[in-house]
């Protein structure tokens, strides 16, 4: 594997559209549930251990070559909020475009024609990792880190939170990201033999309710 390729894929400036999404932080800020670095940290921790770990398992399984269609259906079943399904597919489509241009691959081409409206982003992320010569741990790390860095960056803009404080939150979550990545890779390996039914299904109720509330706002800073 190429460590530099991992940095390219994990870079927040990789042109895959992630900067337009707050990962639910905008809704939580508006509801008064994120007000400072401590509540941002609690938000990110909750997201990491629920939808974050589910996404990482899907990404790692896709990186191991599990059928994207099955993973996409499993992601649908684990994403009851239609607003979040739309966001995940939109992000998946944008990542497909960026990844195909960066690491041409027949698997990404096949994915693009199979899912013209986009597959769930973690499915695409896993295949992008494969195309870049990366492995399941890399896909899991990219997914998990993106899942917490997105909200942290968004809250800097939404609350005017000190960027040093936001980065401190991410540093304090590092050990938990490591553990979650190991768990995701272990699960992904079981998916290869036992099927997508062994994927975790952990959910965070306020992420879903907040996403639906957010989607109904007439004006918002972030797409989700």
């Amino acid at each position: 594997m190429s460590r530099a390729a991992l940095l390219v894929l994990a870079d927040g400036r990789f042109p895959a559209g992630g900067h337009a999404h707050s990962g639910g932080a905008e809704a939580a800020v508006r509801a008064g549930r994120i007000t400072d670095a401590a509540s941002l940290e609690a938000f990110c921790r909750g997201r990491l251990h629920t939808s974050g770990v589910v996404a990482a398992c899907v990404a790692a399984a896709a990186a191991l070559g599990v059928d994207p269609g099955e993973l996409d259906r499993a992601a649908d079943a684990r994403t009851p909020s239609p607003a979040l399904r739309v966001a995940a597919r939109r992000l998946g489509r944008q990542l497909t475009r960026a990844a195909r241009a960066t690491w041409p691959s027949s698997e990404l081409d096949a994915l693009a024609s199979r899912f013209p409206k986009g597959a769930h982003q973690p499915v695409v992320l896993g295949l992008a990792a494969r195309a870049a010569g990366l492995g399941a741990p890399d896909a899991a790390y990219c997914s998990l880190y993106e899942g917490v860095s997105g909200p942290a960056t968004a809250v800097v803009r939404l609350l005017g939170l000190d960027p040093f404080d936001a980065t401190g939150v991410l540093a304090r979550l590092a050990d938990e990201v490591d553990r979650a990545a190991r768990e995701a890779v272990g699960t992904a390996e079981r998916v290869v033999t036992d099927g997508v039914g062994v994927l975790p299904a952990r959910s965070a109720p306020l992420l879903e309710i907040g996403a639906e509330a957010h989607a109904a706002w007439p004006v918002r800073l972030f797409a989700s």
């Binding site: 921790r45 909750g46 909020s81």
Partner: protein, 265 residues
């Protein structure tokens, strides 16, 4: 339901440290617009009673004859609404998860099956996770393409002023063999970090869901919408709508769920 299927009514099997008990209900249409219950059996803490129904609908009540589930207990409930059945299952009281002497957790498994041209309303009272308890609930639903379902589950975290126990609840729904919902919620001591934070429950002490399955949703899914910032109606893939709600307490939760359900009609 495996080893418990042929167990006789009113016989409780003690497993090391806990009670293993099951209940089974099978309903089917009687061919004259009514519903019959060829199987209606429970044991020990899971007594089942037929109560007065209305019209075509048969009603069954789960009556808790013992407290629990306690640590080490394993309860299983299987309900099958076969073709022509209109079945409504409720419970006489809330289920209270309590700590047991056994340090292993308790399990409560619910298996619901609904065939074509059958309807099941699964409407038990709340599950209360008492301080120190440790319970894992699984609810697994298998639906034919033409099945109808109303499922409600409500969890209250702790009795008044009490810290909750450990509660993990997984809900999965398959329609025509395809998994359309798979969700797990973990709360209380030992749950992954952040469960009570701004992404999880944010201090709310009651959380609940409705699963509403109507064949007509396949062509005309309900609009997603939010109620009082505490409940969302969410159309899933397939003829299924999910309502997820959080509230300060069980009463407010029920009101939110009732309001969301009424909006689907």
């Amino acid at each position: 339901m495996g080893a418990g299927a042929d167990r006789r009514v009113d016989r409780v099997t003690a497993v090391p440290g806990g009670v293993r008990a099951s209940a089974r209900v099978l309903a089917r249409g009687d061919g004259r617009g009514g519903t019959v219950l060829p199987v209606l059996e429970g044991e020990g803490p899971l007594a089942v009673r037929r109560t007065r129904g209305s019209g075509a609908e048969a009603r069954v009540m789960l009556v808790g004859a013992m407290s629990g589930p306690l640590g080490g207990d394993h309860f299983t409930v299987e309900v099958h609404a076969a073709s022509g059945a209109r079945l409504r299952v409720g419970s006489a009281a809330a289920t209270l998860a309590l700590p047991g002497q056994d340090r292993t957790g308790a399990r409560y498994d619910v298996r619901l099956t609904v065939d074509d041209d059958a309807e099941l309303c699964w409407l038990p009272e709340q599950l209360i996770s008492a301080g120190g308890s440790d319970l894992r609930v699984t609810t697994s639903v298998d639906l034919a393409a033409g099945a109808r379902l109303l499922l409600r589950e409500e969890q209250v975290l702790g009795r008044a002023g009490e810290e909750p126990g450990s509660l993990t609840s997984r809900l999965s729904v398959r329609t025509a063999g395809r998994c359309v919902l798979d969700q797990e919620l973990a709360c209380g001591p030992g749950a992954p970090g952040g469960w009570d934070g701004p992404a999880g429950l944010a201090g709310h002490r009651a959380v609940g869901q409705l699963v509403v399955v109507r064949p007509e949703f396949a062509g005309e899914p309900p609009e997603p919408r939010v109620f009082e910032e505490g409940a969302a109606v969410m159309p899933l893939t397939g003829p299924v709508a999910l309502v997820t709600a959080v509230a300060a307490d069980g009463l407010r939760l029920r009101r939110l769920l009732d309001g969301a359900l009424a909006s689907l009609d």
